[in-house]
Symmetry: C2
Subunit: 232 residues, 2 copies
């Protein structure tokens, strides 16, 4: 799901250190809810769990803390941060702006037909998944669509930020995946967005994507509130 390094920025030619392994593994465990929000985990436990010493785990913890996924509490271990509805609003606000910018830039700079095809194939995959009501498959395709969209832009830093914050809402998305209505209208947005990009209409692309994300945010915050989840 995320084959790059831990921040997407110039992490290509680096050997896989223990720290990177730790960051990747811990992040995956957090996103997939193997480490529950609000729970604490001693660094020494995590270390033996990952069969490495405390040092790389500690360094990974510091990095994940900077990314907002955990909090390192001196003698209580690493606390997996829950995302409140308010946090979700923050993250979605940021994702909305930055992804919309990415969409704008893509439309302005143009995409190769190959790239357009990639995006359209994700849309097709979502449609097919929707037809079978396979929500997991839909979520995977949706994830890919959004990640690829941003990654096709040339702004590496933007890609890195979006990737980081997208990770943070993934957990909540997976959790609410079966609580929400089937995302049928969402794909119309995706199609319209790709069309706008293909036509080079930068402002339209931006507007479409902003609206798309605002809807997603409303749905997510709503779900969390409705189900009495104060945090996930």
């Amino acid at each position: 799901m995320r084959p790059e390094g831990e921040n997407g920025l110039a992490n290509e030619g680096k050997p896989v250190s223990q720290v990177r392994r730790a960051v990747a593994l811990l992040r995956d465990m957090i996103i997939s809810n193997k480490l529950l929000p609000g729970s604490n985990h001693l660094e020494s436990e995590l270390a033996s769990m990952l069969s490495m010493s405390r040092t790389p785990v500690h360094e990974a913890a510091i990095l994940l803390e900077a990314q907002g996924l955990v909090e390192v509490v001196p003698r209580r271990g690493v606390r997996i941060l829950p995302l409140s509805a308010g946090d979700m609003e923050e993250v979605y606000a940021i994702l909305t702006e930055l992804e919309s910018l990415a969409a704008h830039d893509l439309a302005r700079d143009g995409l190769s037909s190959q790239q357009l095809e990639t995006l359209r194939s994700h849309i097709a995959e979502m449609e097919s998944a929707l037809a079978e009501e396979d929500r997991h498959r839909w979520a995977r395709a949706d994830d890919l669509f959004h990640r690829d969209l941003v990654a096709m832009g040339r702004n590496r830093r933007l890609t890195a930020i979006v990737s980081t914050y997208w990770d943070q809402v993934q957990r909540a998305r997976l959790l609410t995946l079966f609580m929400r209505p089937l995302p049928v209208s969402s794909n119309a947005d995706h199609k319209a967005l790709v069309d706008a990009i293909a036509e080079g209409d930068a402002e339209r692309a931006r507007a479409i994507h902003r609206e798309h994300r605002l809807n997603a945010k409303r749905m997510m915050v709503d779900l969390i509130a409705r189900h009495g989840l104060t945090a996930v």
Copy 2:
């Protein structure tokens, strides 16, 4: 200039560890050009320079690497990353979107008269500095204006991101401070922005600030190109 922690996010109740000292000191040295872009510094040298052991320095280096300020090269030490004109465009693009969003939200949610006063006092300070052609004083006030503007919003994550990337352009701003014309028109933007916020006109606030930042970006990229600086 930056009294908070190293990411502005929930770093309040933490004791000042060596790692934090290292991050703060190194970042200051980088921003103030004491560590020149492109130069390499062995972790052991930095450690003795900061009178601490290699471990906290190494951890600080990893953090600064994640923030995009340095690159840790296995046997060459910590390399201070230069910012190319292209990098500058990336960073400004991000700052433009996120600060514009902050301006929008501030206008939407409203500011206390106290807060408006703070912003206006920064503008006054800039005017007075401009009258005396004191560029350093202007830069400090401008810095404060922009930082405070974003920090007055309630989106902590947004504040953290902007702060990080603002740091990255600071170095270039200081370097080009005397190469650019006196920023006389810039203050008109600031005033218009604060007015829009005071009037609660969210979209106007967003538009004004976006334009303001676009101008700043053009000027910076231009200066760098014109002076043959491929990177700073």
